[in-house]
């Protein structure tokens, strides 16, 4: 955690606050070993987010394609 704080130029309490949120969301896992705390990324934890974003984007992309094509057709017919 000390290394993270140094790398990101943030105070330890600030790092702790961010990490606690990430930990609650299941994105990182903290393991204590004596005086040092190791933070690891939880594999696959962002998968649900990525899948939602991909699915939603694809749905709107197809929808807007149909919308644009429809307006092309009706605009030509005027």
């Amino acid at each position: 955690m000390t290394e993270l704080a140094a790398e990101l130029e943030l105070s330890l309490p600030a790092i702790d606050k961010h990490l606690r949120r990430l930990e609650r969301a299941g994105i990182v896992v903290k393991t204590k070993n004596g005086r040092t705390t190791r933070v690891s990324l939880q594999p696959g934890s962002l998968m649900a987010l990525a899948i939602w974003a991909m699915r939603t984007r694809l749905m709107w992309s197809n929808t807007l394609d149909r919308f644009a094509a429809h307006l092309d057709d009706t605009e030509e017919g005027r």
């Binding site: 969301a25 299941g26 994105i27 939880q42 696959g44 934890s45 962002l46 998968m47 649900a48 987010l49 939602w52 974003a53 939603t56 984007r57 709107w60 992309s61 929808t63 807007l64 394609d65 149909r66 919308f67 644009a68 094509a69 429809h70 307006l71 092309d72 009706t74 605009e75």
Partner: protein
């Protein structure tokens, strides 16, 4: 909270693009034309509701208009049919129609209010529990 943003330029002025988006008869021509049994209801007024439903495909979407500013902007809630009973907060969809030369730039911002990553965490824990249960 997670948002995706997507834009398209269309060859029609904002007024026509807006009408095609909110008029149920116009909507039927482009929303799900590949699902001919789809029904369209759309009352684009603040507090008005919409509902698009295809019984054969088993999909549908519904919501309530929050903000209606013809022909520039719409803000409405978004709920896929069948998700209501799980007590999930509705998504929010904002559509803007900006003049763009002789046409319109249509931008959709779709926001999920739900903390999607939680689902991932639950899934993660589910797998851990399954592995624990497998230990005798």
């Amino acid at each position: 909270m997670t948002t995706i943003t997507i834009s398209r330029s269309v060859h029609a002025p904002p007024e026509r693009a807006y009408q095609a988006w909110v008029d149920p008869d116009r909507l039927a021509a482009w929303w799900w034309p590949h699902l001919p049994d789809t029904t369209y209801e759309c009352d684009a007024r603040p507090g008005g509701t919409y509902r698009i439903d295809s019984p054969t495909a088993g999909i549908g979407v519904e919501g309530t208009f929050r903000e209606v500013e013809p022909p520039r902007r719409l803000l409405y809630t978004w709920l896929w049919s069948g998700e209501g009973e799980e007590d999930v907060p509705d998504d929010l969809v904002e559509v803007t129609f900006q003049p763009d030369g002789t046409g319109t730039l249509v931008t959709v911002r779709h926001t999920s209010v739900e903390d999607i990553t939680k689902g991932g965490a639950q899934q993660g824990w589910g797998e851990v529990m399954d592995r624990l249960a497998a230990i005798e």
